[in-house]
């Protein structure tokens, strides 16, 4: 099995496996990919991501790339962004996309859910202040519609407005005309996406299998 033979620093990987929950084979596969992306360097930078051809036509490419460099996703309660990431950070970010394992208690499933929603929340909340404001949400929708050109911009504003109204209604209910809804907090976000079943949707399936073939 090629993956096991050529793994450098085998004990490191065992640590990582415990920390992130991936299996050794999955870590081996991801390590290979990491090396491919970083041209055999030790760290990844943003321009390495920009080289991936398929990613170029993704409307939310910038946000996805940012998510990798966002310290909040490293589970160490850090804040801010970094310029380059190591393999460990790469894995930690990827581990957000692991499917919940089959034998999980209700609480564990709930914490997986919170984690995934937290990841999404961090992607939207670009200024790290703990709330998604109308402006940030508009930005999200604009990016989503960025492939539609000018029509997208105007409709994006309308859509984002309508969405915020909905969040406000769901979270706060009736509001006096002089009250404010400052932004979506994480709790409101949880409540909003209550019926969303994110733990079964936000997964990359290949992490379930052992694939030794990777396409560039």
């Amino acid at each position: 099995m090629g993956a096991l033979q050529s793994l450098p620093g085998q004990p490191e990987h065992i640590d990582l496996a415990e920390k992130t929950g991936f299996s050794l084979e999955q870590i081996g596969v991801l390590h290979k990919r990491f090396r491919q992306l970083s041209h055999n360097e030790e760290t990844l930078r943003r321009d390495h991501f920009n080289e991936i051809p398929d990613l170029a036509c993704n409307p939310i490419r910038a946000q996805i790339i940012e998510a990798f460099f966002d310290k909040r996703n490293y589970r160490q309660n850090g804040e801010g962004t970094v310029e380059e990431i190591s393999f460990e950070d790469f894995l930690v970010v990827m581990s957000h996309f692991r499917p919940p394992s089959v034998h999980m208690t209700e609480e564990q499933r709930e914490s997986v859910r919170r984690e995934k929603l937290r990841f999404l929340f961090n992607m939207h909340d670009t200024d790290n202040d703990g709330t998604i404001t109308l402006e940030e949400y508009r930005h999200v929708v604009e990016e989503l519609l960025s492939r539609s050109g000018a029509l997208g911009k105007e409709t994006a504003k309308g859509i984002a407005d309508a969405a915020m109204l909905e969040v406000a209604s769901i979270s706060v209910g009736h509001m006096e005309p002089d009250e404010f809804y400052e932004g979506i907090t994480f709790e409101h976000f949880l409540k909003l996406l209550n019926g969303f079943e994110i733990e079964s949707r936000m997964n990359i399936r290949f992490l379930n299998m052992d694939t030794t073939t990777l396409c560039k």
Binding site: E154, G158, E166, V167, S169, P177, D178, E199
Partner: protein, 742 residues
């Protein structure tokens, strides 16, 4: 009034029965007067009125049957209590039995459920209706489970029933020694398949949650391939008498050919249909016909090669739908929807009535042992099969199937007319009648007993019902976001997962099959437009009731604007031009948007108010009103300086917080009512001219005339609007609004 109807309903249908019988009689006698005329030699007077029934016999009888069937259906729904207790399909079978009895009593030959009639004319509309409106996302998400149930489950059922029946036949006292293994297996194959018609008929009325619905229904659709293969296989074998290993192997190959071939044929026709619809912008009237004909051709072509016609039809509908819907006009879409529902409704009714008639008419050979064991074994094998398969499937599913789910899936495995027709196609031998009797008994048992008790059982077990889908724009945004996110992550990992392929597929194929700019319209925009349209329609429909949809009632845009500290963030100035653009987009899209109705239930269709009430003029008039209301809520209510009189009332609490640049021209209307509500009302009613004028400025010429008219209604609306705002209790509002959005 209702009493009058309920008494005339049965009378009318009774009259029609008599008419039918008389016409059956008359068809025999119709020949005679002609003969008489030709045999006489002396000249008769010119016949002013003559009776020639033969001429129109066939269409007349067909029409009469259909009319009778529909009147029965009508009658059931008029009688209030019956339809809530007894299933419609049960009632129809009973009616069929009655009619069969009557026909038999007057010694006529009853029309039987001819297999050709069934498979070629009655079944396709139902399947097309089901396939076209199949909810795709749950279907593809649960595809693995559905396939396992359909293929493995049916095979298991067939083998178990066939084998055990053979064992039963070997029992000494049953006089069934002449039934050989192959015949038993054939019988097992016929009776093992879950029937889509029966499942649809029953599950439509119980409103079960989507997952269970799609599991049972998907299984009933996909097991057609298995049934076809097994049926032909065993039929061939029972003629040949001996089975070799090679034959068995060929059988397996045949299964793949039948199912995949059927899907392929369907997909080809679907793509053809989608491609054709791209060019129909000049001949909108015939658009629906393309959909129907391509689908029917798919079905027939598959049947030519003994491929699975049902799978072909489903594949065609599913493939065609997204592209056709993007290309055709709104009216064509409505036509397609209504015609499909109509035809499938008629077909289903006719099938059940004919089933009843055939029961009375057909030659029966009742054998207690055989029949009873068949019924028991059907139940047992279904339960065992579902339990066993779920145990295996649950290892691979993220959302597990609970015991309750398993029970419903097992209990919902109804048999129906397909089994009967297949039995009818058997070659005539002594066993055929016995088989037919057993099949009919099983069908009756499942439809009557299981069908009628499933509803109270669902209540009893508190199975999750179908949720009223609140169109949540946030969920839609996040669905899109997640799709793109997962595609991106897959690209980063370098794994070409199904998100990647789906994305590529969407990008390339859509360009070919969707006309014009709609091919680049992202789903989010179409969703948003659809939602706006729906709300606009709700506002139109509610008219003076002025209940506000959830989206806009509890909070308004003003509550969401940033805090009044300008230095920290860049505050966007909502300019008039941007406003105008939103309104333009909304207006344009109101004309173009189609309402994607996920109504794969016939009952939903009945309660759709939109189609009935909208007439052109009223629509335009109320659209003007609605636009004003829309601008009311989407406008940042900062532009208050329409008239000096308005400003004087002084919405002070709000003025504090807005730092918008409002030097723009007057807006459509004064914005949210302040806490001092009575002032707001009197203010707004004081200047009825204003809103009309400004809206006239903005709106196109046609609406100008209308805008002036409903002044009173407007005032009333405003009163109610402000009343809504002062209402406390989000709970109360949500309840009301929930019913609107559903």
């Amino acid at each position: 009034m209702s009493q009058l109807w309920s008494s005339s309903g049965p009378r009318l249908t009774g009259f029609l029965c008599v008419l039918l019988v008389v016409s059956a009689h008359a068809s025999r006698d119709a020949g005679d007067p002609h003969h008489q005329n030709s045999s006489t030699t002396h000249r008769k007077a010119f016949p002013v009125l003559s009776f020639n029934y033969d001429h129109v016999k066939t269409p007349f009888e067909i029409s009469l049957w259909i009319l009778l069937a529909l009147l029965m259906k009508l009658g059931f729904h008029i009688i209030p209590r019956v339809s809530s207790i007894v299933l419609e399909s049960c009632l129809l079978i009973v009616v069929g039995l009655l009619i069969g009895g009557i026909i038999k009593a007057i010694k006529q030959t009853a029309p039987v459920l001819d297999s050709k009639l069934f498979f070629l004319y009655l079944l396709p509309p139902i399947i097309l209706d089901a396939g076209y409106f199949l909810p795709i996302r749950p279907f593809t998400e649960n595809m693995g489970t559905i396939l396992v149930f359909a293929v493995v489950g049916t095979l298991w059922n067939a083998a178990f029933i066939g084998g055990m029946m053979y064992g039963v036949c070997q029992i000494e006292g049953a006089q069934l020694g002449h039934v050989d293994l192959l015949s038993c297996l054939l019988f097992g194959a016929i009776i093992s398949a879950v029937d889509p018609v029966a499942v649809l008929a029953v599950f439509e009325e119980i409103h079960i949650n989507e997952l269970l619905y799609i599991l049972v229904f998907g299984e009933s659709l996909l097991n057609d391939a298995v049934t076809v293969v097994l049926y032909h296989l065993f039929e061939e074998f029972s003629h040949a008498g001996i089975v070799t290993v090679g034959d068995a192997f060929l059988g397996v190959v045949c299964f793949f050919v039948v199912s995949l071939g059927g899907v392929m044929v369907g997909t080809i026709y679907g793509i053809l249909g989608a491609f054709t619809s791209r060019f129909t912008s000049h001949t909108r009237v015939i658009e629906p016909l393309f959909v129907f004909l391509y689908s029917y051709m798919a079905y027939l072509s598959a049947e030519v090669f003994h491929l699975s016609g049902i799978m072909s039809l489903i594949a065609c509908g599913v493939t065609m739908r997204p592209y056709v819907e993007a290309n055709i006009s709104h009216k064509s879409y409505t036509t397609i929807k209504y015609f499909l529902k109509m035809w499938s409704s008629v077909s289903e009714t006719l099938i059940f009535i004919f089933l009843g008639v055939s029961t009375v008419a057909g030659p029966h050979a009742w054998n207690w042992t055989f029949v009873i064991f068949t019924v028991i074994l059907c139940l047992v094998s279904r339960v065992l099969g579902v339990m066993g398969l779920t145990y295996i499937i649950n290892k691979f599913r993220i959302v597990k199937l609970t015991k309750k789910d398993q029970f419903i899936v097992a209990y919902g495995g109804l048999r129906g007319a397909i089994a009967f027709s297949l039995g009818f196609l058997l070659t005539n031998n002594e066993m055929k009648n016995m088989f037919l009797t057993a099949i009919i008994t099983v069908i009756f048992f499942t439809v009557f007993v299981q069908g009628m008790t499933i509803r109270p059982l669902v209540e009893l077990l508190a199975v999750k019902k179908k949720e009223e889908s609140k169109t949540s724009i946030n969920e839609e945004i996040h669905t899109q976001f997640l799709d793109h996110l997962l595609t991106g992550i897959e690209d980063i990992c370098g794994h070409y997962g199904h998100h990647h392929w789906k994305d590529k597929y969407d990008a390339y194929v859509k360009r070919w099959l969707i006309v014009g700019e709609r091919s680049t319209e992202p789903q989010l925009i179409s969703f948003y437009n659809k939602m706006e349209m729906k709300q606009a329609m709700m506002l139109v429909e509610s008219g003076s009731a002025a209940k506000l949809p959830t989206l806009m009632s509890a909070a308004t845009l003003q509550n969401i604007q940033q805090k009044g500290v300008p230095s920290r963030r860049a505050i966007p100035s909502i300019s008039k031009s941007r406003e105008e653009e939103i309104r333009k987009i909304l207006r344009a899209n109101l004309q173009k948007t189609r309402q994607k109705l996920y109504s794969y239930r016939r009952h939903d269709l009945v309660m759709d108010p939109f189609e009935d009430n909208v007439s052109e003029i009223r629509f335009r008039r109320q659209r003007a009103e609605m636009e004003k209301r829309m601008s009311h809520y989407l406008t940042v209510p900062a532009n208050r300086q329409e008239t000096p009189s308005v400003r004087k009332v002084c919405f002070e609490p709000e003025n504090k917080v807005y730092t918008y640049d409002d030097s723009e021209s007057p807006r459509g209307r004064a914005a949210q009512p302040s806490p001092r509500l009575p002032d707001a009302i009197s203010l707004l009613s004081k200047s009825p001219q204003r809103p009309n004028q400004t809206s006239a400025l903005r709106a196109k010429g046609s609406t100008e005339l209308r805008a002036k008219a409903p002044d009173e209604q407007e005032e009333q609306d405003q009163v109610k609007l402000s009343r809504c705002f002062s209402d406390p209790g989000p709970n109360e509002e949500e309840e009301e609004d929930g019913s609107f959005l559903s």
